[in-house]
Symmetry: C2
Subunit: 240 residues, 2 copies
Amino acid sequence: MIEPVARSFALLEALSRRPSGTISTLADETGLPPPTVVRLLKNLAELGYATRVSRDAGYRLTDKVLGLAQGIRFVDRLVDVAAPHMSRFTRKYGWPLYLGTIGDRAITIRHSTAAESPMSFERAALQKKSPILSSALGRAWLAFCSGEERRAVLKHLGAKSDPALAAAFAKIRRDGYSFTVLPRTGRLQGIGVAIRDGERVMGCISMRFIRSAMSETEAGARYGAALNAMADAIAVDAAR
Amino acid sequence: MIEPVARSFALLEALSRRPSGTISTLADETGLPPPTVVRLLKNLAELGYATRVSRDAGYRLTDKVLGLAQGIRFVDRLVDVAAPHMSRFTRKYGWPLYLGTIGDRAITIRHSTAAESPMSFERAALQKKSPILSSALGRAWLAFCSGEERRAVLKHLGAKSDPALAAAFAKIRRDGYSFTVLPRTGRLQGIGVAIRDGERVMGCISMRFIRSAMSETEAGARYGAALNAMADAIAVDAAR
DNA sequence: CGACAAATTCCATATTACGAAATATTCTTT
DNA sequence: AAAGAATATTTCGTAATATGGAATTTGTCG
């Protein structure tokens, strides 16, 4: 732990809770000695993150701090929220999970518990793409998103409106989970669920397992409910 | 300048510009040696502001960074934007300026160039309150804010609807500036303008001067246009 | 498997952050 | 106006620790 950095952040946190803060107030709240508070604040001011208001009012944060947060996207928040839920699942059941969001023409893997899984059969696939139409992730997303979004995505992918596909999505909605569409030779299989906030799909999660370990039906019966419970819990957390 | 703090912020800034960053990318961008980047990132992760994504993707910021910015209020941004304009004015004309925003039952002084003024007759009044009805600041605010807001404020102050008051506000709107309502004995006088974004008043600024130096009419003729030009420039800047 | 690239650890050293005490400044009281 | 109280700031000898080149590990790819 780098002390001056940790202390500077403690001061920023303290300052973020009030319009402005005096040396003694901040010293009390952070437990730092006043000379240290003065030194660190001067440094923060030099860096442009704080400004001296007056002797009495002390310092306040500047909007440069806002700039630090500008790059944080919603998906990062979703990952932050989902990660502990996913870890808990993997600890309990063993199988690795993948969290994805939809992008241009593919699902992007945003988080994975593969590294935490004893049955980790794939290298970490973070930031990697998954096909929308054939992966469990993509199929879960498409099944549960709005009809409007689904049509737009399918059109963008150049997929013609297919009654068989529509029936497949209807079944996924009925079951609550999707499966990877595999070539006959595939060893690995995925079962996917959607993280939903009302009509909106925020993300999708799939559990990867070895095909020989269980059939699709068994996978659905054993893990479908647990996966959906986790997805719901994540959705609730993400909504604050 | 506290090095580890400055460097940690350089890393945060670099990270805020991308979804995630690798050690080498960040080392290149910040000019820091890789071992230092590793050490500082680990520290940021321990503090909860960054998270390791994977070996390949490196680190990304967490939404804890958002927390730092949540306390920054609009008024702070306004002060950041207005301060240089106000300093320029005071450097050019000499008289000190005060920036205020409306609060519960008073105008709160958010910034002042009194310290920069050669004719500084008052100690810094930051965070101090000014009366809404009799100060130049309050009268400028009330004259230019929406009728709805004006009625609400006046009602809250317990002021009865007064035709004389309405006429005073109309005159302020016509002139573009307000004046302090003084007891005959007051030495100091203020001329106030509003910082407006369409219908909305974001803040108000008053220039303080010694009553014996000029009459209200002279003050308006000499400084009214310059004050309003400054207020407009601030409004434009504040709108980005 | 072997070789390349990137990340990470090590560690001797110089740097510098530290904070108690002294001093300066501002506010309050009489 | 002057003393007293409260708060902010500077000083400075010292202990603590951040530093980064070199060595090592880890992961990737042909």
